[in-house]
């Protein structure tokens, strides 16, 4: 049984003008100890998905529904707020993007770590502090005692993010969610933090959902990847397969849009024209249709469902006219498909 099962998750925000479907029927699973990448551009619904997993989508005006949303067999949506509180941190923990603003600026680091420990476990202050020092050492902080006595503004962004990871791992959660954990950091510091995340998740057997817009980070860290667009998963599969043989036109475009430091671009970088759709006014059918070079007439009539690839069933994509390997190489459709839209 997978550690996390998400089936048909939908999150809708109601505002004055109507309903905004931020997440629209997302299904995926995470196995124990596995690292899964959730990739997409702003507005694709990747962060809202993660917040829904934590039970952190607030407000009376939001609606979270799912056929199944279960961690270790426990259905999360039916839990009361107090039960959720008990599980947050212990079962699932989250690391946010901006480390300097997710720490409390007027509270010493020691208190911010021990607070989580003491809320869930009976520990003396001294025991909690020494546990906190161990946690900081685990995330590669060279002088834990100095850091424990510091306020966040004394620490660099990379150090703050390590502290956030230490806090998230304090209660040995089964699942860690990291929402753009390195986006605010410089590349050399990003490399340090990713190294820490790889090491600690491997050593503690913690499963990781890594939310990022950076396919390079996914390639370096995850085993499985879900590509999101307009609140949907459009392609999903083992990282090695998705990068070597993308089938969804959006995945193909995204991969071709990246300027690589180690290689000259083959042809033009601007592989995806136009802009992501406005979530309040999604086009009918497949939401990628208006930007898609592979579109057929039926694409704007009928939304494609996530279906397994015939040869590699681990790879799934939602597309009526999937990209062939030769087309992915060329970056454009090579067949004059009957009924192709102009």
């Amino acid at each position: 049984m997978p550690l996390l099962e998400v089936e048909n998750l939908a999150v809708r925000f109601r505002n004055r003008t109507g309903v905004v479907p931020a997440v629209n029927g997302v299904s995926f699973t995470v196995d124990a100890g596995e690292t899964v990448g959730l990739v997409g551009e702003s507005g694709s619904g990747k962060s809202v998905t993660s917040l829904a997993l934590m039970g952190l989508v607030p407000g009376r005006r939001t609606e979270v529904t799912a056929a199944r949303l279960a961690l270790d067999g426990v259905e999360l949506l039916s839990l009361s707020e107090s039960e959720l509180r008990r599980r947050r941190g212990r079962d699932v923990a989250i690391v946010f993007q901006n480390p300097t603003s997710s720490l409390n600026p007027v509270v010493r680091i020691s208190k911010q770590i021990t607070e989580a420990l003491q809320a869930h476990e009976k520990l003396t202050r001294a025991a909690a502090r020494s546990r906190a020092a161990e946690l900081l050492a685990d995330v590669g902080i060279p002088d834990p005692d100095r850091v424990l006595d510091s306020y966040p503004h004394r620490l660099s962004g990379g150090m703050c993010q390590r502290v956030m990871i230490a806090i998230a791992l304090a209660l040995k959660p089964k699942l860690l969610i990291a929402d753009e954990p390195t986006t605010a950091l410089d590349v050399t510091i990003q490399a340090q933090v990713l190294e820490v995340m790889r090491t600690v998740t491997r050593e503690s057997g913690t499963a990781l959902i890594l939310i990022t817009h950076d396919l390079g980070v996914v390639a370096a860290t995850a085993q499985h990847v879900n590509v999101m667009y307009a609140g949907r998963i459009v392609e999903s599969g083992p990282v090695v397969d998705i990068f070597a043989r993308p089938r969804h036109p959006y995945t193909v475009g995204l991969l071709r849009s990246i300027a690589r430091p180690d290689r000259d671009a083959a042809g033009t970088l601007a592989a995806i024209p136009g802009q992501p759709p406005d979530p309040t006014a999604l086009p009918p059918g497949c939401p990628f249709t208006p930007r898609c070079a592979w579109r057929l007439d039926r694409c704007s009539a009928e939304e494609p469902q996530l279906t397994p690839d015939e040869e590699r069933p681990d790879q799934r994509y939602a597309c009526h006219n999937p990209v062939t390997p030769a087309e992915a190489e060329a970056g454009k459709p090579l067949r004059a498909a009957a009924g192709a839209g102009a």
């Binding site: 551009e41 702003s42 060279p142 660099s156 990379g158 150090m159 410089d186 590349v187 050399t188 510091i189 990003q190 490399a191 340090q192 990713l194 190294e195 817009h213 950076d214 396919l215 390079g216 980070v217 996914v218 390639a219 370096a220 990282v239 090695v240 990068f243 070597a244 475009g253 995204l254 991969l255 071709r256 849009s257 990246i258 300027a259 690589r260 430091p261 180690d262 290689r263 000259d264 671009a265 033009t268 970088l269 601007a270 592989a271 995806i272 024209p273 802009q275 992501p276 190489e329």
Partner: protein, 341 residues
């Protein structure tokens, strides 16, 4: 063929900021030049002084010392009045398209403003010019009377580019022009910049922390660390055969969207954070984090002596006492080629 005179030539430039307790040496003795029609990519991490250098070049800042020779004239000592005739020849594109536009000024007025200030044309001529510029940067004519809040990030950046182009500059300084944008939009804006640079024969100083973006647009690359240049040279040479241990580390840290490459690569993870530019290390500024120095048993010369720029194999210059040992170091091997060509 002799090299044409550079359009921009910066010599021993220093920009120091006086802070309460310290003197921050943001740019501390930088030399660089860009030939007419060329593109220099300036890379480095936050705090290395690359944005300060860019602002000094367009003279939004007054340098502490050094010269900024633009088309034969030293801009460094000029005051606002003296700079005015030069302003129209240097355009700047800023990083954040959300905060660099005025929310209360519409697209037309924003692009027209520099034309008005420099007294270009009649009102009708200016309007025609604004429409040309919208076309040039790929914005629909319908965008002319929109406000920034009605535009996406990519569209805003296009507006910023149109304004920078309004006065037909010779030099364009672009400070992280794509960093705030989504991947697919970044690619569009990079393509646009490359196209404009080609068509208008602009000289471009492209400041970025993104080595991939720099590879796509720049002919030459300069790598900065703590206010100094580590390495400078033809883009391919710097990225494929880096001669400075810091460049090697930067490249090794940059994630590559290819699991085959990522799985096979040896990573240099630098220890610690960059030191403060208010108290830079003695000698070579990179010595406190240098993996090469560590592998050579911490030679003393790195701490005592600032390495001078010396020619690097394959072109350009490098400032490292042991640059000839970089290529042989086991960690500096380029990653194995990926699955597809």
């Amino acid at each position: 063929m002799s090299a044409p005179a550079p359009l921009l030539s910066v010599r021993d430039l220093r920009v120091h900021y006086a802070r309460r307790h310290a003197n921050v040496r943001a740019v501390d003795g930088v030399d660089l030049e860009i030939s007419r029609g060329g593109t220099l990519g300036l890379v480095g991490e936050s705090g290395c002084g690359k944005s300060t250098l860019g602002k000094a070049v367009v003279r939004l800042l007054k340098p502490t010392s050094g010269t900024i020779e633009f088309d034969g004239c030293d801009l460094a000592p000029l005051d606002e009045r003296g700079l005015r005739p030069w302003r129209r020849r240097i355009g700047m594109i800023f990083q954040d398209p959300y905060s660099s536009l005025n929310p209360r000024i519409d697209v037309h007025a924003w692009i027209e403003e520099p034309l008005r200030i420099h007294g270009r044309g009649s009102r009708t001529e200016r309007t025609a010019r604004v429409r040309d510029l919208l076309d040039r940067v790929g914005l629909p004519q319908a965008a002319e009377h929109r406000y920034p809040s009605q535009l996406s990030g990519g569209q805003r950046q296009r507006v910023g580019i149109a304004r920078a182009l309004a006065l037909d500059p010779d030099l364009l300084v672009a400070d992280e022009p794509t960093s705030a944008l989504d991947v697919s939009i970044q690619a569009q804006v990079l393509e646009l910049l490359a196209e404009i640079q080609r068509d208008l024969e602009l000289t471009l100083l492209f400041i970025s922390h993104d080595l991939g973006a720099v590879r796509q647009v720049a002919g030459e690359i300069a790598v900065m660390y703590l206010g100094r240049m580590c390495e400078l040279g033809p883009a391919r040479r710097v990225l494929d055969r880096p001669a400075h241990p810091y460049t090697v580390a930067l490249l090794s840290a940059a994630p590559v969207p290819d699991p085959a490459v990522e799985a096979g690569r040896e990573r240099i993870v630098l220890r610690g954070d960059p030191p403060s530019p208010a108290a830079p290390p003695s000698g070579c500024r990179f010595h406190s984090r240098c993996w090469l120095r560590e592998s050579l048993d911490d030679p003393e010369i790195c701490v005592t002596t600032d390495p001078p720029p010396v020619p690097a194999a394959g072109g350009g210059t490098v400032r490292c006492h042991f640059h000839d040992r970089v290529a042989g170091a086991p960690l500096a091997q380029p990653p194995p080629p990926g699955g597809h060509a």
